[in-house]
């Protein structure tokens, strides 16, 4: 009964979403205030209905309702409660529902925080978002219904993939989806502005906080995913340039470019067409990311053939939203105009360079991710593109971006003077060069790559701190920028040092054996059984000493999940600011010996720390009162003048 209620709620939500988009888009076009008045309450009603449906699905998981096909595929009665709840978004159908739920959350947020916007703008934005949610609801109801019944009911479920049975996986998808879907707000604002034929600084100001907020969620989501891969996959990698990761990284790169380009559009009215295009692309890449990961196309391009309806529906949705927006863009963009002019050395051109580099980076990832898929789909052979490609391209693209990141905030709008910039920044440059090149020597092992990375990180850090002294008038969004840029510096330190100094060793160990890695000595004390609620495990005790002094004791596990007949490596990690000690159990060898891998990962936590600082900075910037107050103040002032 409950699953049917959920399905009913989804059907109602679909009807309301269609009504919302038709009524508010038509209402805005004809200036019909009555129709536009429906936009806010309808958007909120859709969100409530989808939330209700989501609740129904979660309930089916919690009470182990194995007459629902999706529950059977992604849960098991022995699964702990928190993972049964997370199982609701462990598969294709449930993730679509989560996606739609997130869209409801963003629609509600727009309906609540848009009081200062003109009525037509709000109606158009909600209308476009309503159209997007109608597309997703229809996709779910017609091809991927999470509430589909299984008759007769199964005795038990097939269990959630053990890799997903992890606290990180409980929060990672919702965060990531908040980010993906958040870009739909920027997209809706762009389309609404195109429809109205009004792309100006006000439009950019309205879009900015929403874009930045979405970007924060995406940043945290990606960091969580990377952290999960690091400790859960068991072998200590934190980024694999795997298509699944690239799928979330592409919208992030486009979104980062969009944030910077919106700044120019708001302050100077320039880059308007480019900003709109970026807003469309950021959302297009978010859609692409969702579909790439969830449609099964990555495990096999031929997975589409299993259920051709899904593939066609996906292409249709993608074509409608993105094709429609691009057509509108082509039609309207002539009217937009170019905006303020600027000189070759100015803040605009530094931000332009930032955008070119970020867009090139996104294009690079796109090529490396989709070219092998396209080739395979055409039957032209199987190839793969590995990390060496991405690394070879990313370093030369991001190094100049980091260098310019230090200068940009010091350059004036419209036109700046190079000699003046050089005078302002010479000490920062000298200090970061000297320190960056000397620090690796102090760490005992000089390498050009580490020196280069540290120079860049120090440069970004010093110049960011210096902007705090530059002007007297400091806004919240300026602090936000400084914090986010410091986050980038922290991130670069982490990446540089872990790439430069990580070490690992595989060894055959019997209880009592030791293995040395640098100054650390790892001793396998013993291996014992340690069974969990839905798995059997062998648990090793490894004590780590340094110079005879005890550092820590680690307990890596090898787990066996009987329902899915799968084995899992649970690494044991000793984390610290200076780096991690990482031990994982390989496989049992003859007798009581085990294959053990020990690793040292210097400064690896700075990678995720940097991401969190970036997101924190974004949060600061998005909460700047300027975005909420000044518009209404202006209207008030205008009203006073009129009176």
């Amino acid at each position: 009964m409950i699953p049917e209620l959920g399905q009913l709620a989804l059907s109602l939500a679909l009807a309301l979403a269609l009504f919302l988009s038709a009524a508010s888009l038509y209402g805005a076009q004809t200036g019909n205030a009555g129709l536009m008045g429906y936009a806010r309450p309808t958007a909120q009603a859709i969100a409530l209905l989808v939330a209700f449906a989501f609740g129904c699905l979660v309930r089916s998981f919690v009470v182990n309702d194995f007459s629902v096909l999706y529950v059977v595929s992604n849960s098991n009665s022995a699964l702990p409660l928190q993972y049964r709840i997370a199982g609701a978004w462990g598969g294709h159908e449930g993730s679509l529902l989560l996606w739609t739920l997130m869209l409801g959350v963003w629609m509600t947020a727009v309906s609540l925080f848009s009081r200062q916007l003109p009525e037509e703008m709000t109606a158009r934005v909600l209308g476009v978002m309503g159209l997007v949610s109608a597309g997703f609801l229809a996709f779910m109801l017609f091809t991927s219904n999470p509430f589909e019944r299984l008759l007769p009911a199964a005795a038990d479920g097939r269990d959630l993939n053990p890799l997903l049975q992890d606290p990180g996986m409980v929060v990672h998808p919702p965060m990531l989806y908040m980010g993906y879907v958040g870009f739909s707000v920027a997209f809706a604002f762009a389309v609404a502005a195109l429809l109205a034929g009004r792309l100006d600084a006000t439009w950019a100001r309205w879009s900015r906080p929403w874009t930045t907020a979405a970007w924060c969620f995406l940043t945290v989501g990606i960091a969580l995913g990377s952290g999960w891969a690091y400790y859960e996959l068991g072998w200590g990698g934190w980024w694999f340039w795997d298509p699944v990761e690239n799928a979330s990284f592409m919208p992030w790169l486009a979104g980062t470019a969009l944030i910077h380009s919106l700044a120019v559009t708001e302050k100077r009215g320039a880059f308007r067409s480019w900003t709109v295009l970026l807003a469309i692309f950021a959302f297009a890449l978010s859609l692409l990311g969702t579909f790439l990961v969830r449609s099964g196309v990555l495990t096999s391009v031929h997975a589409f053939a299993v259920d051709p309806r899904r593939g066609i529906f996906i292409l249709f949705l993608f074509g409608t939203f993105i094709g429609g927006a691009l057509a509108l863009y082509a039609w309207r963009t002539v009217r937009i105009g170019l905006g303020g002019s600027f000189l070759a050395i100015s803040r605009e051109s530094f931000l332009l360079a930032n955008n070119v580099l970020l867009a090139a980076a996104a294009g690079t990832v796109f090529l490396g991710t989709l070219y092998p898929l396209a080739l395979d789909a055409l039957g032209a052979g199987k190839i793969s593109v590995g990390p060496p490609y991405f690394e070879a391209v990313f370093v030369p693209l991001m190094a100049p971006a980091l260098f310019l990141m230090g200068i940009g905030p010091f350059a004036r709008w419209k036109g700046a003077s190079l000699p003046e910039l050089a005078v302002q920044l010479r000490w920062a440059l000298a200090v970061s060069l000297v320190l960056g090149l000397l620090l690796p020597v102090a760490m005992g092992n000089w390498s050009a790559m580490v020196g280069f990375g540290l120079c860049l990180a120090l440069w970004v850090l010093l110049t960011s701190l210096m902007t705090l002294r530059k002007s007297l008038k400091q806004t919240r969004s300026h602090y936000g920028m400084v914090i986010a840029h410091i986050g980038v510096a922290v991130f670069v330190v982490g990446v540089t040092l872990v790439k430069g100094y990580e070490s690992e060793k595989d060894a055959r160990m019997k209880p009592g054996d030791t293995v040395a890695l640098g100054a650390y000595v790892f001793r396998l004390d013993g291996v014992a059984d340690a069974d969990g609620p839905n798995y059997k495990a062998a648990r090793a005790t490894v004590s780590v000493t340094r110079g005879g002094k005890a550092v820590t004791v680690l307990y890596p596990e090898k787990r066996f999940y009987p329902v899915q007949q799968s084995t899992m490596t649970e690494a044991a990690i000793d984390s610290g600011l200076g780096g991690d000690l990482y031990v994982s159990l390989g496989e049992p060898l003859d007798g009581d010996a085990w294959l053990v891998r020990v690793q040292r990962k210097p400064f690896v936590d700075w990678i995720w720390g940097g991401c969190l600082i970036m997101a924190l900075g974004g949060g600061f910037a998005a909460s700047d009162r300027r975005y909420r107050v000044s518009v209404s103040k202006k209207t008030k002032a205008l009203a006073e003048v009129a009176a």
Partner: protein, 148 residues
């Protein structure tokens, strides 16, 4: 410089910069493409020496042997037609099993042994990695055409 000249310089500069980026990206792309070969193709010497490539197929039953150091492992990958000996140093992935599908990346030694730098088995029990399945299908296909 007149404004028109300035614009021309800016456009030329932009095109040159984009050209450099494109050349960089495509060069790196070409260098780092990893092609896929089936064990039959490798045995028939169709795979390149001294370049990294991928192979896929089934791990032959009873072929997995750890050497005395416990770290180096040897096994045979087959597409049911031909078999290829593989060596690898380190821990095998959790899903690596005899009789199951596997994909390995590495280089072919002069002795005809494939030295894997990476062994991938990102699939569940019922599911074969696409490359492994493709290799077996191709071998079956060849066998069928030979019979006819």
């Amino acid at each position: 410089m007149k404004p028109r000249h300035k614009r021309i310089v800016a456009i030329v500069g932009g095109v040159v910069a984009l050209g450099i980026v494109a050349a960089l990206v495509l060069g790196a792309f070409k260098q780092n493409l990893v092609f896929f070969f089936t064990p039959s193709e490798v045995v028939e010497q169709k795979a390149p020496q001294g370049r990294t490539f991928r192979i896929g197929g089934m791990v032959e039953k009873g072929s997995v042997k750890r050497q005395a150091d416990g770290v180096t492992v040897q096994f045979t990958v087959t597409d049911t037609a031909k078999s290829l000996p593989v060596t690898f140093r380190g821990s095998l992935p959790d899903l690596f099993r005899e009789g199951k599908g596997v994909v390995a990346q590495g280089q072919l030694g002069a002795d005809g042994v494939f030295r894997a730098s990476e062994v991938l088995a990102k699939h569940d029990e019922n599911y074969m990695p696409p490359e492994a399945k493709a290799a077996v299908d191709k071998a079956h296909e060849t066998a069928r055409t030979l019979k006819q």
